[in-house]
Amino acid sequence: MSTKQEDIDVSVWRGDPHSGNYENFKVPAQESQTILDVISWIQQNQDATLSYRFACRVGMCGSCAMMVNGIPRWTCRTHLNKVLNGNKLVVAPLRNLPVIKDLVTDMDPFFDKWIAAEGLHHPSKTRLDPIEEIEPKSIGRVEIDTGIECINCSICYAACDTVTNNSDYLGPAALQRAWTVYNDVKDADKQTVLDAVSGDGGCLNCHSQGSCSVHCPNDLNPMNAIAGLKRATVASLFSRKG
């Protein structure tokens, strides 16, 4: 990108839970500018009432995700020159989540579903037992490896059309989390996990469209994890006594 000062046309969604519209801003282009930089510039120089969310600015906390030109992205690590469409940028709150104000969404449904998917640790030992040794190369541990890098940004959740069409669907991140718990040898209650993920809003809703895996900023593969849960669900049909 050239270093000369050009203005970018930025449309930003403004509104409350009930209504809203895009507001246009002109933002001076700079080198190595991220989408979060653009939004912050607007908030600092043009309209202090613009609401948005961020914390770490380095892709760790997962709080800055927004729709950028129609694609869910982590804005702190998305460079403007990578996504600029001509001279235009459209920034909106994440899909599939209720809007609180402007670019801020209510993440509650997303996190509630982590719990609903039993993405929790079910302890098998007390503090008096020795720590269980996990062989890093063991199959279950390798399977868990990528899933636990999830930063809870909800980008996959925003990308998933199944979530759009079925508000009960647990969604890619929660199911991926459940898959890591299911493969954890330290977890004592795998059947509860399986029951939670194979019900109405569970893994069998997934159409393997793969938007979750394509857009995950950490290159995780929730679609694969969900396929694993589907296999486990089918296998349990045969292993359970009728």
Partner: protein, 113 residues
Amino acid sequence: MIRPHRKHSLWLAYILHRISGFCLAVFLPFHFYLLALALTEPDRLDGFLSWTDTPIVKLAEFGLVFLLAVHFFGGLRLMALEFFPWSTSQKTLAALAIASAFLVATIFFLQVI
């Protein structure tokens, strides 16, 4: 217009599978009806069969075979994706292998007829 978050090959594969499935489902009742003619009204069936020799119908048949192939391999792809815990590249290779096998078989078939 395809929405931006859907512009990737996995979504394309998904939508092709859906559309081909729908088209085949629409086609099947006609297909069965026609086959039933062989039992009930053989003359009309013969009349229809000679109509199928026209180029436009041949083209439509090509479309039909294409739909079938798309749906068949779309289904195989899905089953491999969901039921084999392979790495992604292994699955791509498997899909490629089946596709080439199909290609060879079709070319062979075309030469025979």
